[in-house]
């Protein structure tokens, strides 16, 4: 059932001009209305921009030192001086959340980069060469994916040791199997596609086919997984840190902040709530943007 109405075909077909041109006025209106119709995308983008700025230039947002201990300011509730209150050592919680962005975000960047890098190498090799390389890589992926992911990450942390980078590496390595599998299937899909066949039939060299057709067309679908993986990586790294397996004190990583505040939850819930909501907001914003780009790509 077609829901879009094609331009009817007049008898002399060359006259047809494909998409009907839009009136210029309608176009400006569309552009002006875009932020209103996609307000959630705009909000998500703003949240992410702020989070990234927190990570890059925390000094713009919080002027005090995240590790400065204030002996007289312990466990103060949120106020105009301390937006998110202060922790048990009198450190300004807002400052710590702002500075925590760097650990959380850079950790997830490292994790995703590692996952994509390892995953693409294995996936592309398996998909392009096929045969025994494919068989081995696929079995390897099977095995890695058969271990519950977070547990595998924990196991890798045991080997690598504690720390934000180690946690990021663990998350990245764990996710690489999923990337490898996706990239392999995309390479296979592109390889079997008719445009690749048409390129071969028109005389293209196999290097051309790989570099001009297969690789670029395999990347698109991978991108949407990459954007989603950012959110997952933030959550996992925060979870590892929450369990004490990631960032170590006094680093103000977000999961760490939640873990630290847990003991004061009955009396000082704000110590937990603000960092927790920060993680949720950033991940939510990231996923919203990821979905937006996935939808646009589909069109």
């Amino acid at each position: 059932m077609t829901t879009t109405i094609e331009n009817p075909t007049p008898p002399v077909e060359v006259r047809q001009t494909g998409q009907p041109g839009k009136a210029p006025r309608g176009r400006t209106l569309t552009i002006l209305l875009w932020p209103i119709r996609h307000w959630s995308v705009v909000v998500a983008g703003a949240v992410l921009v702020v989070a990234v700025l927190w990570a890059l230039v925390p000094g713009w947002f919080a002027h005090s030192d995240p590790t400065a201990i204030g002996a007289t300011d312990k466990l103060l509730p949120p106020s105009s001086a301390h937006w998110f209150g202060t922790d048990r050592l009198g450190r300004d919680q807002y400052t710590r959340v702002v500075h925590g962005a760097r650990a959380s975000l850079s950790g997830s960047v490292v994790a995703v980069a590692l996952g994509v890098a390892v995953g693409s190498v294995f996936g592309a090799l398996a998909g392009w060469f096929g045969r025994w390389i494919d068989a081995i890589v696929m079995r390897l992926i099977d095995v890695v994916l058969s271990i519950p992911g977070f547990l595998l990450a924990i196991t890798i942390v045991v080997v690598l040791g504690y720390g934000i980078l180690q946690a990021a590496a663990a998350v990245g390595l764990t996710s690489s199997a999923a990337f490898a599998r996706l990239i392999r299937s995309e390479v296979l899909r592109a390889k079997a596609s008719q445009y690749v066949e048409a390129a071969v039939a028109s005389g293209a060299r196999s290097s051309t086919v790989l570099l001009r057709h297969v690789v670029p067309n395999s990347l698109g679908p991978t991108l949407s997984l990459v954007t989603i993986q950012f959110g997952i990586a933030i959550i996992w790294i925060a979870s590892l840190s929450f369990l004490g397996l990631g960032a170590q004190p006094p680093s103000p990583e977000w999961g760490r902040l939640v873990a630290d505040g847990r003991n004061f939850m009955a009396s000082e819930p704000y110590l937990v709530v603000y960092p927790a909501l920060t993680v949720a907001a950033v991940v939510l914003a990231g996923n919203r943007l990821a979905r937006h780009f996935a939808e646009r790509q589909k069109r």
Binding site: G18, Q194, Y195, E197, A198, T208
Partner: protein, 552 residues
């Protein structure tokens, strides 16, 4: 079959006088963005009991929208903008959902477009037909099952109990369509909307399915709204023809009158472009003006086996230089595999293939490459054969770059561009198309781009794999015309693969009929069409729609 001229109105009908279905001044639109696009406008027609109305039109003409509107099943963004649908004098287009549901399937039923996806894949087919009885009758379980068995017999199944228990994927396309027809006639509706009921089916199956609908209609005095893109089918199978163009009814006339003497200019245009009426081969006798040309393509005892089955089984043929040789067959006949062997996309298992004097049968893809300068292919679906990231220039330029030293692309940019423009012009496309994306082009334009890509290297042999079967009739004619023109200008040799006998007759001198991997018959067009030697060819010819038109 229906070549007889008996009136189609059933005799034993005791329905009240007056039309069983009337559509009055119907307009339907779809919401797109903030506006509404009108899909059909001011459609009016009446259908007497037992009559068949064929709604004909090219893609986007709005014919399916009318079918949906009659059933009250417009997509969620569809809106009735005006007019009404009346069933037995009662307006049904403004009924509430519940009351309309009572009519659907019981009074007006649907035979859907694509049988392969119109059945629930995880349910047995018997119970799916039973749904209609469950919804509209008070029969008990046993009676329902009994009735479905009867219906299955009616649509020509033997071993109905086994069929009842089968799943859709265990049935062929034609059989699935029979199941859907059984469901459509289960409670003896007054009107059946048949929405392209045979699209995607092979010609012989198409004829069987249409015969079945005809037969059931005649028995039950049912009226049919037959929605089709195929004027041949419409001419063979209807009492009334409505021609749709841009959502308007260009002409509504009794079929015989319409075929003899179409009133509307667009109708005439459509009729003139029906493949059955086309002919681009001036010399019908097939006699060669200057003796037999040297062969461009020679195939001897070619076989291609895949694991489990044989796609091509010991076929031989020769194509003379500058000639068109057609291979015709239904799906699974091995014609496309033959095309793939000829273009080096797959290797033959046995036999010899010689292209322009080079043995290629067993060359692998890499060794075949030098030959591609001279042998190119045009695929059925041009859009799928273009890299989705490429614009027209990149698509057409690709073969040129393939045979230029790597890295010289920048130096040759202007030269390549000029050659691409020349190829586009040869395919009757303006140079302004260079930086358009195929997405923005119509089906015919895309196929012209594909043809330009095939020609840009100035090859000698072009394999055309169903190059026009995805296109509208009038566009088909234009592309055929273009192909013929290019052949005479450039001296091209064509191997033309098609399922459509009428098209084959219009374009080629020699033809081979394939079935299950074998060539059952080959020879001059005239001879094969006038006095087929093989019963299968005769069957194919018999199933050809549009003989009413060809015989004018």
């Amino acid at each position: 079959m229906s070549s007889d001229v008996t009136p189609r109105v059933a005799r034993d009908i005791t329905a009240p006088s007056g039309p069983v279905l009337a559509v009055e001044d119907l307009s339907v639109g779809y919401q797109a963005g903030r506006g509404t696009k009108t899909a059909v406008e001011h459609i009016s027609f009446e259908l007497e009991p037992g009559q068949v109305l064929a709604l004909v039109g090219e893609s986007g003409s709005g014919k399916s929208t009318i079918g949906h509107a009659i059933l009250g099943l417009l997509p969620t963004n569809g809106r009735l903008l005006g007019g009404s649908v009346r069933y037995r004098g009662r307006t049904i287009s403004d009924l509430s959902g519940g009351r309309l549901r009572g009519l659907r399937g019981r009074a007006i039923s649907l035979i859907p477009q694509d049988p392969t996806v119109s059945l629930d894949p995880v349910r047995r087919v018997g119970p799916q037909v039973e749904d209609v009885l469950r919804l509209h009758t008070s029969l008990d379980t046993e009676a329902r099952r009994q009735r479905v068995h009867e219906l299955f017999e009616l649509v020509g199944f033997d071993d109905v109990e086994r069929r009842y228990r089968q799943f859709p994927h265990e049935l062929s396309g034609g059989m699935r369509q029979r199941v859907l027809i059984a469901a459509a006639v289960a409670v003896e509706p007054d009107v059946i909307v048949a929405d392209e009921p045979t699209s995607g089916l092979d010609a012989t199956v198409q004829a069987q399915v249409l015969d079945l609908i005809d037969d059931l209609r005649r028995r039950g005095g049912t009226s049919v709204v037959l929605i089709t893109h195929d004027l041949g089918v419409a001419a063979d199978r209807s009492d009334l023809v409505g021609v749709l163009r841009d959502g308007r009814l260009a002409e509504l006339a009794p079929t015989a009158a319409f075929v003899q003497n179409p009133q509307d200019e667009y109708s005439r245009h459509l009729l003139d472009n029906v493949p059955a009426r086309l002919s681009f081969v001036t010399d019908r006798s097939g006699g060669t003006p200057s003796g037999d040309p040297e062969p461009a393509v020679e195939v001897r005892n070619l076989s291609k086996r895949y694991e489990g089955h044989t796609a091509v089984d010991d076929i031989s043929f020769t194509v003379g230089r500058g000639r068109t040789f057609s291979i015709v067959g239904e799906s699974g006949s091995g014609k496309s595999t033959t095309a793939r062997v000829l273009t080096g996309l797959t290797q033959a298992t046995a036999g010899r293939v010689s292209l322009l004097g080079t043995e290629v049968g067993t060359l692998n893809t890499k060794a075949f490459r030098p030959l591609r300068r001279d042998v190119q292919i045009v695929f059925q679906n041009p859009y799928a054969s273009f890299d989705p990231r490429f614009d027209v220039l990149s698509v057409v330029e690709e073969p040129l770059r393939s045979f230029q030293p790597a890295g010289s692309a920048r130096r040759r940019r202007q030269e390549n561009r000029d050659r691409v423009v020349a190829a586009l012009e040869a395919a009757s496309l303006p140079a302004s198309f260079l930086h358009r994306h195929p997405r923005e082009l119509s089906g015919g334009q895309r196929q012209r781009v594909a043809i330009a890509r095939a020609l840009v290297l100035e090859p000698k042999v072009v394999v055309l794999d169903e190059p026009i079967s995805a296109l509208d009739v009038s566009v088909q004619a234009q592309i055929l015309e273009l192909l013929v023109k290019l052949q005479s200008e450039l001296g091209l040799t064509y191997v033309f693969i098609s399922h459509d006998l009428a098209v084959v007759r219009a374009i080629s001198v020699r033809v081979a009929v394939m079935r299950r991997g074998r060539i059952v018959e080959q020879g001059e067009i005239a001879q094969v069409f006038e006095s087929p030697a093989s019963p299968y060819t005769a069957q194919l010819l018999g199933a050809m729609a549009g003989r009413q038109l060809a015989g004018r």
